[in-house]
Symmetry: C2
Subunit: 341 residues, 2 copies
């Protein structure tokens, strides 16, 4: 064996050995360490293996690998109130400063009173009016900065931690696991698209262009220096709930997802649409059944319904019937939050 | 030197040498071979080098690298009629078969007559009515398949070639050059989003989720077997022209582009919005000034205006004033179509 041939042979062997070692390491590393062994975890792993194995009849080409996640109650805590609603209520004093006449009319009068009991009883229409007023009238850039500043200081009343720490660790692992297998991960939220985009890249690793949400129109205009900018308008363009989810998925993505994750009636059509596609599809429904570590609610558990994140008995039964995999927070998750560890 | 150390040293040298060779090869290969040397080509190369060089003050992080392209008249021929309008006119007989009453009313009567003279004189409102009727009522999947079938058989009257061969080779090279430098390339078209998505991946390498266009609503429903699907509705959701372009860019992408390419008044705001961003930004305006190889039109050339792809004198002057780079088809492009070579 000549010297060059020997060197090449040794190089090739070294590279091959390194490859074998890293493959073994990968196989031995659990991609979902916060998940307990069980049906849910196994379903995820089976799905990923089947759709990424070229030899499998269920193989999905990389460009078709789309996974969509609801946010509130699926990626982070949505109790006792949607985080965005808390943000909007907190914004009321500033909005009233700019528009003092609002201080004398409902529902702003109630919000300004600070009476938690009364605030918690505001109607859906009152809330919509608050959202409309507090989420419009500023530039899209000013809005993003304001949300980011608020998230830095706001704290969840129960855990006294930033809302961005109340993301579910098992879901963060799932997002990463899917991405490391070539899936593009999207958030498809009933929450405001601009609100979620302000932190999704930092918190979930999901860039703005992969956040689909309820969205209002914007209008193009100029500042006093003639520089163009976009202003948020109080005009609803997309209501990203229920049938609005598959409709927005078509508008914003243009492909049917291969995997979808939700937790409430607002996610029903997205889970149904995903599962109804050809080939291997994964739809998963997260059950909030852990009163100790998080919350337990919904008629599916024989518990009273709540204002937010409703999981009805009908949806629970549909999950079973349609082959969606139910995730039990209590049984399937070893840890819920990163700060627990 | 011990054997292992020597082998490692040789391996490292071999890898380093391979790297140097490939870097040189890259530097020597012109990424834009169909572009003549000149201001336009140099502006593109300078922009890419400045924004991808970590040592440059103009460096742009990979996730921020967004480039947006108008389609009609920017990526492919839009004369003598927008391709999508030709498609819609061709679809009229089929639509009338399903809805016979339309045969007796205008503008469908004129379209069915086949009288080219009269068809070319249809008003904008007539055309909008034709678009509304021919682009709705079917499922999104059926529509995509129909567009793909049509593109297989339809031919451009001048070149007698499929429309998908009438893409501009220099722009295809530009799309690839930007992508190979970490840019996400988007199409932002006044044309129909679903129409362009039917072929953009194959023709431009742009996936559906990176095609933003004029879009109608869809509605979620079920077929007789209970399978969910989306139907295209005659309800305008996004008019992706003029100010609608930056507005749609915000809705669908959520970031201001670093580079934008257009050719007509419909692209004005997109070019303006892009160029007005902080740091290094590139806005380019394509001038159709090649009557021999393509077309020459627009008041910017002292030529009569046309129904489609208008480049007004005002826009041309604005380009000069705002520092947008004007691309002359005649002078900057060595080849226009791939089939010329």
């Amino acid at each position: 064996m000549k010297l060059v041939a020997r060197i090449v042979s040794v190089c090739v062997s070294a590279v091959a050995a390194a490859f074998v070692v890293s493959t073994l390491a990968l196989a031995e590393t659990d991609p979902l360490p916060s998940w307990n062994d069980g049906t849910a975890k196994q379903a995820i792993i089976n799905f990923v293996q089947a759709t990424t194995d070229k030899a499998s009849a269920k193989f999905v080409t990389p460009e078709e690998r789309i996974a969509t996640f609801d946010q509130d109650g699926t990626l982070w805590v949505s109790h006792p109130m949607y985080t965005q609603v808390v943000y909007c209520l907190d914004r009321v004093p500033e909005v009233v400063k700019a528009r003092p006449a609002l201080a004398k009319v409902e529902p702003f009068k109630t919000v300004l009173s600070g009476d938690r009991e009364k605030i918690s009883k505001l109607s859906i229409n009152d809330l919509l009016r608050i959202l409309e007023v507090t989420l419009s009238g500023m530039s899209v850039d000013a809005f993003r900065i304001d949300v980011q500043k608020w998230l830095d200081v706001a704290r969840h009343p129960r855990w006294e931690r930033p809302y961005t720490e109340l993301t579910y660790l098992p879901m963060i692992e799932l997002l990463r696991y899917l991405r490391s297998n070539g899936y593009k991960t999207y958030i498809v939220t009933g929450g405001g698209q601009d609100f979620v985009r302000a932190y999704a890249e930092k918190v979930y690793g999901v860039p703005p262009e992969q956040v689909v949400g309820t969205a209002g129109g914007t209008s193009y205009g100029y500042d006093k220096y003639g520089h163009p900018f976009l202003t948020k308008e109080p005009r609803l363009l997309l209501n990203d709930n229920n049938a609005g989810k598959p409709e927005a998925i078509h508008l914003m993505i243009g492909r049917r997802p291969y995997a979808a994750f939700g937790n409430s009636t607002g996610d029903r059509e997205m889970l149904e649409y995903t599962k109804a596609g050809e080939g291997e599809r994964l739809s998963m429904l997260l059950l909030h059944d852990d009163a100790t570590r998080e919350y337990a609610y919904g008629p599916a558990l024989g518990l009273p319904d709540t204002k937010v994140g409703a999981l009805t008995q009908a949806l629970y039964e549909e999950a079973r019937r349609q082959g969606w995999i139910v995730i039990s927070m209590k049984n399937d998750w070893q840890h819920i939050f990163a700060f627990e560890k």
